[in-house]
Symmetry: C2
């Protein structure tokens, strides 16, 4: 089993080091090979996703990814910016199914912006389509407006699009996931305005016929953004497109108050996957040894479960994380009075010990 | 001064009646004429925005709008559904600037999902562009995919677009509004992925040169969805496109916990405007006399201020609303122990009395 380890920028290197430490401790005979990605790769090779990194990723069974981005790359042309690496990996490997759990850990309820009763026990799974929609649709660019309010003016444009098989496969992923959970899928669309999402709604409704045991609810994206704040626990699995999923999955993860705890997985149809924390590269705290490695460690657990068939090892990691939380160990982002503040490395060590 | 009164569906008629009552009590010599819109208009005339209603709206100085929509119209073809009336009015009248304040009233802090300290004193203004973006961009429809992951498959698509003058004018509206407030504008985009919003960011940056006294911050939409939950009070004015604005303005209004209190205005360049509550038609409680009329009454106040030049009368309404809240009067949506539950009509009467 081969793992491509791509730490990236900012806190990426620190948090991935802890996840690698945990994987090593499991003695699973994993072959891990590291490569540069994002700004670090741009600095070394002039491109955020060098050929060699892409090749390594393609050949691996799974990718353990840290985070990319730093203000210092903000002025680069778009194709050279760090985040293009992540878009490039998604597209090249066909990683269409993004799993973003939003879980509120019992001990961290107090860290949420929301009142405790609204988030205690929260456990929702957002499934975001990741290789279609307006992220990759063609044509896009600049042109002279021919219609609209100012014909003749300069305008920029993008194309939103979804094909039937793209919607079908992500819908199946969502219904399958719901079957192992509380058997409820909320499909988020904007069918009242967009052709793309009227089609989305129609196709999801069609696929649902194969899943009579799962409840299907349709919800407009603006309402979903509200209901996540009002009653987040009313959701089980949310499935939506790339753009809406980007917004809603970040909103949902912030509801938990502990985004430093939330892993993610992005899978293709061969179960090859990219695993990364839900948070970003946090350049402001990079190198200080205070970043929370748990989201990355939990991403490694997802990797073992989804791509490497190591269910038991995944359970061990997840149990170990629960144990260190119960021990009261906290990195600064989740620290509260009465708990013990630890560094990135100390947290990683504690998880290893708890395995 | 002529006002088109369009109550619409669901609770629309009840809440608009109270706003009209308040306007009448001001003795301003307003000419008010009512017409059907939405599902009610479809039932009577076979179209959600009949010619006669559109004509009335165009000739008026301002439109007082209730809400449209009911489940019973869900199966109609899209062009006949109630919400098309609102899209049609926006487009026909060129109502490009949508003002959506998210204010947390002192007495209603407890109604929020968020912890009191995060929302007490909250006062942000979301300015959403309302006639461009993917809402109206052409082409849109269905076709056979030529590229993407499944060439040859059936796909649906839409076009996102913004022209330079469209971005310029909404940016000016936002900077002008910020000048009268805390002098900070957050422009929300997705410049890291979308051509349209890289252009948006560039044009807003350009327009900002005329407003050196206003601080400009750029933020990605996913991050904005998070920051609204994490630290809503860090915002002053948010300006964004039609699609992102739809999502973020609803998220923000729900943060206050009292969406039944939030008005909105949609203006064109002649200061003609459509005024409506931020909430919907709530068919589930229609006809029960329990809907909160305050958002509509406050929308009437915005109308007096923005379209009719009646600043003093607007102040009077807003003061009266504060007074009834201070008196402890509450419709069921904002009721809490120790306050007095009142009906839609009683609330309207109380505002009139407090004028
Ligand atoms: C960095 C950016 C392109 C990316 C996205 O929009 O998909 C990020 O926000 C994410 O959610 O992984
Ligand atoms: C009803 C719908 C078309 C509309 C929109 O998306 O603009 C509504 O959600 C709104 O925000 O006014």
């Amino acid at each position: 089993m081969k793992i491509a380890v791509l730490p990236g920028d900012g806190i990426g290197t620190e948090i991935v080091a802890e996840a690698v430490k945990v994987l090593d401790a499991l003695d699973l005979n994993l072959e891990m090979e590291s490569a540069l990605v994002g700004g670090a790769a741009f600095d070394a090779h002039g491109h955020p996703l060098p050929e060699s990194t892409l090749k390594l990723a393609k050949e691996a069974d799974a990718i353990l990814f840290g985070a990319v981005g730093d203000w210092k790359y903000d002025k680069l042309d778009r194709p050279l910016r760090p985040e293009q690496a992540i878009l490039g990996l998604r597209k090249s490997l066909g990683l269409f199914a993004n799993f973003r759990p939003a879980i509120c850990y019992e001990q961290l309820v107090g860290a949420s912006s929301l009142k405790p009763e609204l988030v205690a026990g929260l456990d929702i799974l957002i499934i975001r389509e990741l290789t279609g929609d307006i992220y990759f649709g063609q044509p896009r660019g600049k042109r002279t407006a021919v219609d609209g309010h100012f014909p003749g003016a300069e305008e920029a444009f993008d194309t939103m699009r979804y094909s039937k098989p793209e919607i079908e496969r992500i819908a199946r992923v969502a219904f399958d996931a719901a079957r192992k959970r509380n058997k409820k899928v909320t499909s988020v669309d904007k069918a009242n305005v967009l052709e793309t999402f009227q089609f989305w709604k129609d196709v999801v409704t069609e696929v649902h016929k194969d899943y009579p045991d799962v409840e299907l609810q349709h919800m407009y994206v603006d309402n979903a953004a509200m209901q996540l704040v009002k009653a987040p626990k009313s959701f089980d699995v949310i499935v939506t497109g790339n753009m809406f999923g980007d917004i809603l999955s970040d909103e949902a993860s912030m509801l938990t108050g502990s985004i430093g705890m939330l892993p993610s997985a992005s899978l293709n149809d061969r179960k090859q996957g990219l695993y990364e924390p839900s948070h970003g590269s946090a350049p402001d705290i990079a190198g200080k040894g205070i970043a929370n490695p748990l989201a990355t460690i939990l991403s490694a657990a997802m990797m073992l479960r989804f791509s490497l068939g190591q269910e038991a090892a995944a359970d061990r990691i997840e149990d170990a994380v629960k144990k260190v939380l119960a021990q009261g160990l906290r990195t600064p982002d989740i620290y509260s009075e009465g708990t013990t503040k630890v560094s990135t490395r100390e947290m990683g060590d504690a998880v290893v010990k708890a395995l």
